[in-house]
């Protein structure tokens, strides 16, 4: 398998002939986030999970601040993963910021994608005129501070220890809060890239069926953001979920699965 697979710790399951579904995790944790939802599609889909570079158990040495200084770098990786696995007619399921990474990947290689599922998308977190993203610039500064506060005990030197000892996975397991662990510098930059991007214009020109899943009381992607995405992509489906919060795939896996199923089933 190619370096892409190692780099992004790609995991594929389900029937090889099944329609591919690529699940992309958002800012915060890693592919484990999908573990209550993805397996439910593995019976009839080729399910592909991966970690963004810098997150989870991706290859940290592949983290290039230049490349990942914009969402485009992540989108490039998505396209590479699809090509590496020779996928086509892909159902791209992107959570949070990965919904926009999917949009960018679509523009890079529209031929690869057959449908988009956006879970809690926001094309821009920072308010801008009439547009309500839910955050002021000051909020983002506070967010970066909060991240810093939670990364103090986590020395950057630990990363190589964890990543460099695949033969001793217990090292990683032992660490509390492990699967949401990211090296502080990377977490900080990913947060910046996530919360300071403006992808509204990129929503134009998406010509595959698109599902927008909007949670109730989502503190990160407010209702206005989901609505904006829906309105900017003609023909898209907006489903408002009963699930609250920002991570319905964990808090309401059944509802999430059902909504995606319904969307994919003609």
């Amino acid at each position: 398998m190619g370096s892409v697979v190692t780099r992004n710790r790609v995991n594929a399951s389900g029937p090889p002939e099944g329609r591919p579904m690529v699940f992309a995790h958002g800012f915060g944790c890693d592919q484990t986030l999908w573990r209550l939802v993805a397996p439910r599609f593995a019976c009839d889909h080729r399910v592909v999970l991966f970690d963004h570079v810098g997150s989870g158990q991706s290859d940290l040495s592949a983290y290039d601040p230049e490349k990942y200084g914009s969402l485009d770098g992540y989108a490039t990786d998505v396209v590479e993963i699809c090509r590496e696995l020779a996928l086509s007619d892909v159902v791209f399921v992107g959570h949070s910021v990965s919904a926009m990474i999917g949009v960018l990947a679509y523009h890079r290689a529209p031929e690869l994608f057959g449908a988009m599922v956006m879970v809690g998308p926001s094309p821009r977190y920072v308010d801008d005129g009439d547009y309500v993203g839910g955050f002021s610039r000051g909020d983002i500064v506070g967010l970066l501070d909060a991240l810093d506060s939670n990364h103090l005990g986590w020395s950057a030197q630990m990363a190589p220890v964890i990543m460099g000892n695949p033969e001793r996975p217990e090292l990683a397991e032992e660490l509390t809060n492990s699967f949401c662990r990211t090296a502080p510098d990377i977490a900080r930059q990913f947060a910046r890239v996530t919360f300071l991007s403006d992808n509204r214009a990129d929503l134009d020109g998406i010509e595959v069926p698109t599902l927008v899943l909007q949670c109730s009381a989502d503190a990160i992607a407010p209702d206005t953001a989901g609505k904006y995405v829906h309105e900017r992509i003609p023909g898209s489906t907006l489903v408002r979920m009963r699930a609250t919060g920002h991570v319905p795939q964990l808090s309401a896996p059944e509802e999430t699965t059902a909504a995606i199923r319904a969307f994919l089933t003609p």
Binding site: G26, F27, G28, C29, T32, L33, R35, G69, S70, D72, S96, R124, V126, F135, R137, D139, I140, V141, G142, L143, L144, D145, A146, L147, D148, S149, N150, L152, G153, T176, N177, F179, C180, R192, V193, L196, S197, D198, A201, A217, D218, A219, I220, T244, G245, H246, V247, L250, S251
Partner: protein, 759 residues
């Protein structure tokens, strides 16, 4: 406590019943422990809705339990905490069932934040579905402050290290720079990266910083992401007070209402480029201000991250960044100075080579015309687009050379030359240079063009100048000992950078070299012309036709120096059909010798009017020498011949004997010479004999028999030998043969030769 006497305690009892108090505390209702524990307790539904909260938490936050119950914990967190809660805490609880030591800021009712550390566990039912989250919160104000300080210090150190790295890289990269362009590339790229600027450009002061006459010109050397238009507007805006701008140091130009009002064009250019402010960093070395580094900052473009600064909120530059930029400016300045010195040294070498080459070209040239042409060619090959050399002649300024560096331009220039000579216009820099006796250097292209238009003779001339795109002119006068010899004019077109002071200096050196050549040539030419005139006037006309004799005369000047010397011949008819002949040699073969010869010949002719015998003539000349005031001494041979009888008389004043060629035999006649003319007088002896019919008498000067390689006796022997072979020839032929066989291509002395045959 026991007293010293070992008795019972004597002091007042501390408590009525300490044991019962402790028991009471220990037996306290666990509910009280929950409510008043030194930590906050919270129980929430899986979606964050608060189901239970203790009094401590309520007290810490200033909220009542009623307020809290039923609201969601997310609402109690700062925005950052809320995001962290959703993106980290929720997944972790769901996946791992517990989290530890999560930093959270809790909002108090007054809006202030209470820094906390949070531990939480998820309570699940038998199927693993979440039922409840139990959380404990500890206040961590001091710890958080300490951590923040630690973090801030670390950030500061990192930033400082990053700046040091930037400076190191800049220094390293600059060390390899060889040209101002190299320096510009390094400083523009590094400066732009350090500032995270949208664009950067290095603008340098061109020309002579020490030229007080005008404000220095600005030239953008390299620009990344700063548009040409913006740079032009910035230069215009700074233009008239550039020195001031540079001296003011690091400053920023913000696109605001004031700028829009004061500098609308600059503001428009900034807006068009999406630039919100410009940071101008002085580039200097020691006290020299060499230019500025312009950094353009802008609102994010599509694909850029959103700036954390509020739009329109221009915070002042961070002092550390200001320091860094100053450092970059100084580093760039020093590198530029180094590069400039290196370049100067190189150019100095080139100029020396150039001047040497010019000197060699001039030395090799055959005459002034060639020298001038070659020089003009050399100038347009290196120094200028056009080179015009005008020389002062009797008829005024004459265009001696006009060269253009390329053939197309040359054709135009030739046409220009056909038009009237612009040099006649009094404002032409060449004319002014000559009149004022100093170099005219037109820096300003506009001034140059205007002037060329002014000196134009007509529209066609103007058009040609326009096509040639000439706009910079340097005119250097050629002056030696106060004599104005000409003027060298260099022209530069629009593509050429302005002439530097060094280039003008080279032009002045060239003009000096050329003027020395011209001066020498002109002096030589003057002498040559003078001597030709003298010779023409001093040598006698063709010998007179005399019956019964045939004469031939020849004069050859020395091959070095002027074309005339002190040798002469003369043939005169005397009264009574006698013929007088003379050959003489005034010492030296220069103009003075020629002049003396002319006077002597006239005196001799005058003294021959009454037909004195040769000896009498010599005596008269010797006795009267002082009155004649002649500057040089001379040798001479005088002879008279009666063509009818062949009676021949000869007297010699220190001269070589004549040659007689008769019947195939040649001999020197034994004429005894007296002293040279001009030496103290001594009686002259006269030889008398007969020139037989058919015999030829040959009178000659020492130039015929003297040569550098052999003594005079050998020359005399050679003369006898050649003459004997040529006796039968007529006098003209005899003269030619003698000259052909006895003299070579190089003559150190001039030669006068006279042959007379009695027919």
């Amino acid at each position: 406590m026991t007293g010293p006497d070992g008795g019972k305690p004597t002091g007042p009892q501390r408590a009525r019943d300490p044991k019962s108090q402790l028991d009471r505390l220990l037996e306290d209702d666990p509910a009280d422990l929950y409510e008043n524990a030194p930590m906050g307790y919270l129980s929430t539904a899986p979606d964050g809705r608060i189901a239970r909260v203790n009094r401590t938490f309520c007290a810490w936050t200033g909220r009542s339990p009623e307020d809290l119950l039923g609201s969601r914990i997310q609402e109690l967190l700062s925005v950052g905490g809320r995001v962290f809660y959703e993106t980290h805490l929720v997944p972790l609880l769901r996946m791992q069932g517990a989290v530890r030591e999560i930093a959270m800021d809790v909002l108090r009712i007054d809006g202030s934040l209470l820094p906390c550390l949070l531990n939480a566990v998820e309570m699940r039912d038998d199927d693993g579905a979440p039922l409840l989250v139990r959380a404990t919160l500890f206040e961590a104000t001091a710890r958080r402050r300490y951590e923040r300080e630690l973090l801030a210090a670390q950030r500061l150190a990192e930033e400082s290290e990053a700046r040091s790295r930037t400076v190191q890289k800049v220094v390293f990269d600059l060390a390899a720079a060889m040209t101002p362009e190299d320096v510009a590339t390094v400083i523009v790229q590094r400066g732009r990266a350090a500032m995270k600027a949208r664009g950067a450009a290095l603008v340098l002061v061109v020309g002579e910083a020490d030229d007080p006459r005008e404000l220095p010109e600005l030239r953008p050397v390299r620009s990344d992401g700063v548009s040409v238009d913006l740079l032009r507007r910035l230069r215009e805006a700074a233009g008239s007070q550039l020195a001031l701008e540079l001296a003011q140091g690091l400053r920023s130009v913000v696109l605001d209402a004031r700028l829009r009002a004061d500098q609308p064009r600059l503001a428009a250019a900034m807006a068009a480029d999406g630039v919100t402010d410009l940071v101008i960093v002085p580039v200097s070395a020691d006290s020299k201000r060499l230019g500025v580094l312009v950094l353009a900052r802008g609102a994010p473009k599509r694909g850029d991250l959103i700036s954390l600064e509020e739009p329109g909120d221009q915070r002042p530059l961070h002092p550390a960044l200001v320091d860094l930029l100053w450092t970059l400016g100084r580093q760039a300045g020093q590198a530029l100075e180094r590069v400039r010195l290196y370049e100067q040294t190189r150019q100095q070498g080139e100029r020396t080579g150039f001047l040497l080459e010019a000197a060699r070209l001039m030395a090799d040239a055959a005459d002034v015309t060639e020298t001038v042409q070659r020089l003009a060619d050399l100038v347009v090959s290196r120094l200028a687009d056009v080179c015009v050399i005008d020389l002062v002649t009797e008829h005024g300024l004459a265009r001696s050379a006009a060269r253009h560096r390329d053939p197309a331009g040359q054709r135009l220039l030739d046409r220009l030359r056909e038009r009237q000579a612009p040099s006649r216009s009094p404002v032409h820099p060449g004319v002014r240079a000559l009149r004022e006796g100093r170099t005219q250097w037109l820096h300003d292209p506009a001034e140059g063009r205007a002037l060329l238009a002014e000196v134009a003779a007509d529209d066609e001339y103007r058009e040609l100048v326009e096509v040639l795109k000439l706009q910079r002119v340097v005119s250097v006068p050629m002056i030696v000992d106060g004599r104005r010899l000409g003027v060298v004019t260099l022209g530069g077109d629009r593509q050429r950078p302005p002439f530097t002071a060094a280039a003008v200096e080279v032009a002045e050196q060239l003009a000096l070299q050329l003027s020395q050549v011209v001066e020498r040539a002109q002096r030589f030419e003057f002498e040559e012309r003078t001597s030709h005139t003298l010779q023409a006037s001093l040598l006698p006309p063709a010998p007179p036709e005399v019956p019964a004799i045939a004469t031939a005369v020849r004069y050859l000047a020395a091959t070095q120096g002027v074309d005339v010397g002190g040798d002469w011949y003369d043939v005169v008819r005397l009264p009574g059909d006698q013929v007088a002949m003379a050959v003489g040699d005034v010492v030296g073969h220069d103009i003075t010798a020629a002049a003396t010869m002319g006077q002597l010949r006239s005196v001799t002719r005058a003294m021959s009017v009454d037909g004195p015998s040769p000896a009498v003539l010599v005596d008269r000349l010797q006795r009267g020498w002082e009155q004649f005031g002649l500057q040089r001494m001379a040798t001479a041979l005088f002879a008279t011949l009666d063509p009818a009888t062949g009676e021949l008389r000869i007297a010699s004043a220190g001269h070589l004997p004549p040659l007689l060629c008769s019947a195939g035999e040649a001999q020197f006649l034994p004429v005894r010479p007296t002293r040279m003319l001009g030496a103290s007088a001594a009686p002259a002896e006269e030889w008398a004999g007969v020139l037989p019919p058919g015999a030829t008498l040959v009178l000659f000067t020492d130039g015929l028999v003297e040569s550098r390689g052999a003594d005079i006796d050998a020359g005399m022997d050679r003369l006898l030998e050649v003459a004997a072979r040529s006796c039968a020839a007529d006098p003209g032929e005899l003269c030619d043969r003698l000259l052909a066989e006895l003299t070579g291509a190089h003559r150190a002395d001039d030669i006068a030769l006279l042959a007379l045959t009695r027919t």
